[in-house]
C-alpha cells in the first residue's frame, strides 16, 4: 500500500504532501526533509528504489520536480514507478502543458483533487487517464456556467 505521496523541488521545498497512514504533524516536516535528502543525494546510476527505515521509497525526477512515493514492502516497485508516470501524464493533460513545480504549487487544490481520483486510502482507485479527469472536467464546466 502507498504510505504517502510527496512532490518536492530540487531545493527540497515541499510542493505537495499527502499521507495515507497517520503521521503526526510535528513529525512530518522531519520525515519530508529526510526523505527528500535521501532522494536528492542519489546519483544517476542508482536505481529509483530506496530502502528507507522499514519501508521503501520510489522516486522519479521530472525536470526540477521530484515525486516520491512511500510504499510498504509488499508493493510492486516497478508498478508504482509506472503509476507515478501515469500521474504526471494526467497532470500534463489537465493543465494542458508540461507540469512544473510552480504550476503545482499554484493549483495545489486541483492537484489534490486529481490525486484523490487516482489514489484513495493508500490504494489505487483508477488508472485510466480520461476517467480520472472526468469529474474535474465536469465540475469545472459546472462552475464556469
Amino acid at each position: 500500500m502507498i504510505k504517502f505521496v510527496l512532490m518536492v523541488n530540487r531545493r527540497g521545498q515541499t510542493r505537495l504532501s499527502r499521507y495515507y497512514t497517520p503521521v503526526e504533524l510535528s513529525r512530518r516536516a522531519a520525515l519530508e526533509a529526510d526523505v527528500v535528502r535521501c532522494c536528492l543525494s542519489r546519483r544517476k546510476e542508482q536505481c529509483s528504489f530506496v530502502e528507507y527505515k522499514d519501508f521503501k521509497l520510489v522516486y522519479r525526477q521530472y525536470a526540477a520536480l521530484f515525486i516520491v512515493v512511500g510504499i510498504t514492502d509488499k508493493e510492486n516497485e516497478l508498478s508504482i514507478f509506472e503509476l507515478i508516470q501515469n500521474f504526471v501524464e494526467v497532470l500534463d493533460k489537465y493543465f494542458s502543458r508540461v507540469v512544473s513545480s510552480c504550476a503545482i504549487m499554484f493549483s495545489l487544490d486541483r492537484v489534490h483533487f486529481i490525486l484523490d481520483e487516482i489514489v484513495q486510502n493508500g490504494l489505487v482507485v483508477e488508472t485510466n487517464r480520461s476517467r480520472i479527469l472526468t469529474p474535474l472536467n465536469a465540475i469545472d464546466k459546472m462552475s464556469d456556467s
Binding site: T14, L16, S17, R18, Y20, P22, R28, A29, R43, E45, Q46, C47, S48, F49, V50, E51, N76, E77, L78, S79, F81, E82, L83, N86, M105, F106, L108, D109, H112, F113, D116, Q120, N121, L123, V124, V125, E126, T127, N128, S130, R131, T134, P135, A138, I139, M142, S143
Partner: protein
C-alpha cells in the same frame, strides 16, 4: 486575496523570518474572517490555510471551518471542506466525529460527485465508530450500477474492514458479481477488496478460491485482446489491473494445489507473451514471477520464472536489476540449482554502482557458494571485500566467513583478508572451525601455510589469525620450508626462520596465553618435520619449566598426548593399535621422534565434524585423564553417541565409547578404555562381558593386559554387540587383574547405556 496571490507574495520572501511574518499576517486575517462567519470567503481561506499547512505552519484553527464547508450546499465548498478534513483532521480530533452526519447525508446525495467525496473522505480517515455507523451505506453503494461510485465504495469498504474487521462478512454478498463488471476501475478496486478480504480471513480465502477461473479468464482477455485505446499503457492493456489480478491469484494459489494448477497455463502465457521492451511489461513479468514462486507451481514454470529474473539481470535498467536481485534472494534457498545458472551475472552485479544492488548481489553470492564454484567465487568476493565501501566491509567479512565455513573447504586466502579486515568481528569458535576446514582441503595445504606464514610476518596482533597460522605451520611446516606452493610463487624460508617466527609469538606481549599455547604446540610438532630438533627441544624444555604454569602444563600435556595418540587410539573400524612404550612422568622427554601426527589428524578430521574444535580445545584445556577424554571426544564427535563410564572402582576406571558398524545398524561397536589411577600397574588384566539372551556379543583381543599406573595409558578392547530386536542394552562385566601382588576380581552390571547406542 486568492490563493495564488498569497503564494506569489510568499515567494517574494527572502528569508525564513520574512516568510513567517507574512504567514502570520495572513493567518491573523483569516482568523478574523472565520470569526465573522463570512461564508463567501471561507472556501478561499481554507484553501490558503491548506497551503500554509503544507509549508509547515499550524492550521488547526481551520478544522472547524472545514466542517462548515462540508455542510455547505455548494459543491466547491464541500470539495475544499473534505480535502481540508483529509489533510488537517485525524481521528484524534473531536471535530472528527462531527463529520459523521455530514458524510452520511452526502453518501446519499443526489450528485454522484458529492457521494464520491464522501466515500473518499470516509475511506481515508474514518474512525472505527464512523465506519460502524456508515458501513451499511458503503455496502449499498458497492451494489450500485454507477461504476464511478462502485469503485470508490470498494476501496472505502477496504478501509471499513481494516478498521472494524468484524464487519467483513457484511460485504460478502456484494462481492458476488463484482468481477463481472466491464469497467476496469471497478474491476481493479474489486480485486483489491477481494485481496484484502482473503488476506484477512482464511475462511474468505477458501470461499474465494472458486473465483480463480474467472480471474484467469479476465487476465486472458487482457493479454489476448487487441489494442484497446481506453486501457492502453505503452502497448499493454491495463497493466495495473494485470498486476493486481496476478497478486490476487498469488494469494489464492498459495498452499492450494488445485488453484495453483488452474492458473498454471495463464501464468506461463503471461510470462512468455508479455512485451518486455518497456517498463510496464517488466512490471507485469515481475509480478508474474512473484506469483509463480509463491504458489505450488510445477518445476518447469519455476525455472521459467527464474530465467526471467536472469534476463532481468542483464537489463540496462537498474530498477529492473534491483527487483531481479531482490526476488532471486527470496528464491535461492528453494530453487538453488536454477539460480546457480545465473551466478556469473549475479557476480557481475557486485561491480554495480548502486549500493542496494551491490548489497543484494553480495548476499546472493554468499548463498550461491558451493564446493564446485568456490575458487571463482572466492576470488570475486575477496576482490569485492578489498575494494568495497567501509559500510560493507564488516557485513562482507562476516558473510564471506559464514558462507565458507558452512559450505566449503577452502579458506586460506580468506583467513588473511577476513581476519585482518574484520578482526573484531570473528567469533570465538571460528578458529577451530577454520582449522578443520584447512585440514580437509588437502591439496591446498602448501598454499595455505605459505599465505598464513606471510600474514604472520605482517601482523601478529590479530589473535585468531595468529592461532590458525601457528597451527598450520606446526602441521605443514615441512611444506613451507620445501617451497611446494603451486598457486603462487613459493617463498624461500628456512627452518630457523620459521622457528624464529613461532618463538617470537611465544615472547610477544601481543600474544594471549591461548595463542602461546598454539605456537608452542606448533613448535613441538615441528620436531617431527624439521631437522633442527635440538633447537626445538631447547624451546620446549624452557617452556616445560616455564614460570607460566599454564604454558608449562600445556607443554607437558601436549607431549604426553602426542606420544599417546598413536598408541591408544582405536580408529573407527580399524585394528586395535600396538602397545605404548612407557612414558616417564617427572621429566618430559622427547617421544615425538618417529611419531608423525599428520596422517592421524587427517583421519580424525575425516571422522567427523567439529572434531578440531575439541582437538584444540582438549589440547589446551583439560586437566585430568587426558588421554581417555581425548579419545572419547574423538569418537563422540565421529558418531554422536556420548561415551559413558561403565565401571569405576578402586582406581580402575572403564569407559565405553561407541560407533556404529556401517553395513549393519543392528551392531553396536563398543570400545572399552580401561585406565588405572593408582600408583602401581594392574597386570594380567582381563575384561569379560556377558549380555542377555536376545543379544549376541563378540569380544576382540585387547590392546594389552597391563593397565599402566597413574593414567599413563589405557587398555582398549573392542566389543561387538548384535541387537536385532533393538532392545535396551544391558551388560554384566567381570574384571580380573593383579595389583601390587594381589589378585583382584569384580563383577558389575552396566545399565547406563545411552539410548543412541541401541536404538
Amino acid at each position: 486575496p486568492l490563493l495564488r496571490e498569497l503564494i506569489r507574495t510568499i515567494r517574494t520572501a527572502r528569508t525564513q523570518a520574512e516568510e513567517r511574518e507574512m504567514i502570520q499576517k495572513e493567518c491573523a486575517a483569516i482568523r478574523s474572517s472565520f470569526r465573522e462567519e463570512d461564508n463567501t470567503y471561507r472556501c478561499r481561506n481554507v484553501a490558503k490555510l491548506l497551503y500554509m499547512h503544507m509549508l509547515g505552519y499550524p492550521a488547526h484553527f481551520g478544522q472547524l471551518e472545514c466542517l462548515k464547508l462540508i455542510a455547505s450546499q455548494k459543491f466547491t465548498d464541500k470539495r475544499i471542506g473534505y480535502l481540508g478534513a483529509m489533510l488537517l483532521l485525524d481521528e484524534r480530533q473531536d471535530v472528527h466525529l462531527l463529520m459523521t452526519n455530514c458524510i452520511k447525508n452526502d453518501l446519499n446525495h443526489s450528485t454522484q460527485y458529492v457521494q464520491g467525496l464522501a466515500l473518499c473522505t470516509l475511506g481515508c480517515m474514518g474512525s472505527s465508530e464512523m465506519c460502524r455507523d456508515l458501513a451499511g451505506e458503503v455496502e449499498k453503494l458497492l451494489k450500485t450500477s454507477n461504476s464511478y461510485l462502485r469503485k470508490k465504495a470498494a476501496l472505502c469498504a477496504v478501509h471499513v474492514i481494516r478498521k472494524v474487521p468484524e464487519l467483513m462478512e457484511m460485504f460478502l454478498p456484494a462481492t458476488k458479481n463484482l468481477l463481472s463488471e466491464k469497467n476496469h476501475g471497478v474491476l481493479h478496486t474489486s480485486v483489491v477488496l477481494l485481496t484484502e478480504m482473503c488476506e484477512r480471513s482464511p475462511d474468505m480465502l477458501s470461499h474465494f478460491r472458486k473465483l480463480v477461473p474467472q480471474l484467469v479468464r479476465i487476465l486472458k482477455n487482457l493479454i489476448m485482446s487487441g489494442y484497446s485505446p481506453e486501457h492502453d499503457v505503452s502497448g499493454i492493456s491495463d497493466p495495473f489491473l494485470q498486476v493486481r489480478i496476478l497478486r490476487l491469484l498469488r494469494i489464492l494459489g498459495r498452499s492450494d494445489d488445485d488453484s495453483s494448477e488452474a492458473m498454471n497455463d495463464i501464468l506461463a502465457q503471461v510470462a512468455t507473451n508479455t512485451e518486455t521492451s518497456k517498463n510496464v511489461g517488466n512490471a507485469i513479468l515481475y509480478e508474474t514471477v512473484l506469483t509463480i514462486m509463491d504458489i505450488k507451481s510445477e518445476s518447469g514454470l519455476r525455472v521459467l520464472a527464474i530465467n526471467i529474473l536472469g534476463r532481468f539481470l542483464l537489463n540496462n535498467d537498474k530498477n529492473i536489476r534491483y527487483v531481479a536481485l531482490t526476488s532471486l534472494l527470496k528464491t535461492v534457498q528453494t530453487d538453488h540449482n536454477a539460480v546457480q545458472r545465473h551466478r556469473s551475472t549475479i557476480v557481475d552485479c557486485l561491480k554495480d554502482l548502486d549500493v542496494s544492488i551491490k548489497r543484494r548481489a553480495m548476499e546472493l553470492s554468499f548463498a550461491l557458494v558451493n564446493g564446485n564454484n568456490i575458487r571463482g567465487m572466492m576470488k570475486e568476493l575477496l576482490y569485492f571485500l578489498d575494494s568495497c565501501d567501509p559500510e560493507f566491509k564488516a557485513d562482507c567479512a562476516s558473510g564471506v566467513f559464514l558462507a565458507f565455513t558452512l559450505k566449503t573447504i577452502w579458506l586460506c586466502p580468506l583467513c588473511h583478508f577476513s581476519f585482518l579486515q574484520a578482526g573484531s568481528y570473528v567469533r570465538d569458535d571460528s578458529v577451530p572451525n577454520l582449522i578443520q576446514l584447512i585440514t580437509n582441503s588437502v591439496e591446498m595445504h602448501a598454499y595455505t601455510v605459505q599465505r598464513l606464514y606471510k600474514a604472520l610476518l605482517d601482523d601478529i596482533s590479530q589473535q585468531p589469525l595468529v592461532q590458525v597460522a601457528s597451527w598450520c605451520i606446526g602441521e605443514y611446516g615441512d611444506l613451507l620450508v620445501s617451497g611446494q606452493c603451486e598457486e603462487e610463487e613459493p617463498i624461500q624460508v628456512t627452518e630457523d626462520e620459521v622457528l624464529d617466527v613461532l618463538e617470537g609469538l611465544l615472547v610477544s606481549n601481543l600474544s594471549t596465553p591461548v595463542t602461546r599455547g598454539y605456537s608452542l604446540t606448533a613448535i613441538m610438532k615441528l620436531s617431527t618435520r624439521f631437522s633442527s630438533v635440538n633447537r626445538i627441544k631447547k624451546v620446549v624444555s624452557i617452556y616445560g619449566s616455564s614460570i607460566d604454569v599454564e604454558l608449562q602444563q600445556r607443554a607437558v600435556e601436549r607431549i604426553m598426548k602426542i606420544s599417546l595418540i598413536d598408541v591408544a587410539l582405536p580408529l573407527p573400524g580399524g585394528p586395535a593399535p600396538a602397545p605404548a612404550p612407557s612414558v616417564p612422568t617427572s621429566q618430559p622427554t622427547f617421544l615425538l621422534d618417529g611419531i608423525s601426527s599428520q596422517p592421524l589428524f587427517n583421519d580424525i578430521a575425516a571422522a567427523g565434524e567439529n572434531l578440531f574444535d575439541s582437538l584444540c580445545l582438549l589440547s589446551f584445556l583439560f586437566q585430568v585423564n587426558g588421554a581417555n577424554i581425548f579419545e572419547w571426544f574423538i569418537l563422540f564427535y565421529s558418531t554422536g553417541i556420548p561415551p559413558m563410564t561403565a565401571y569405576n572402582k578402586n582406581g580402575l576406571k572403564i569407559d565405553f565409547t561407541f560407533e556404529r558398524a556401517n553395513p549393519n545398524p543392528n551392531i553396536a561397536v563398543i570400545t572399552i578404555h580401561a585406565s588405572n589411577s593408582t600408583e602401581a600397574d594392574m597386570t594380567d588384566f582381563v575384561f569379560q562381558a556377558a549380555v542377555p539372551k536376545t543379544f549376541q556379543l563378540q569380544l576382540l583381543s585387547p590392546s594389552s593386559n597391563v593397565v599402566p599406573a597413574l593414567n599413563q595409558g589405557t587398555v582398549t578392547q573392542v566389543i561387538r554387540v548384535l541387537n536385532p530386536q533393538k532392545q535396551q542394552l544391558r551388560m554384566r562385566v567381570k574384571l580380573t587383574y593383579t595389583h601390587k601382588g594381589s589378585a583382584f576380581q569384580d563383577l558389575s552390571e552396566v545399565n547406563n547405556f545411552p539410548p543412541q547406542s541401541w536404538q
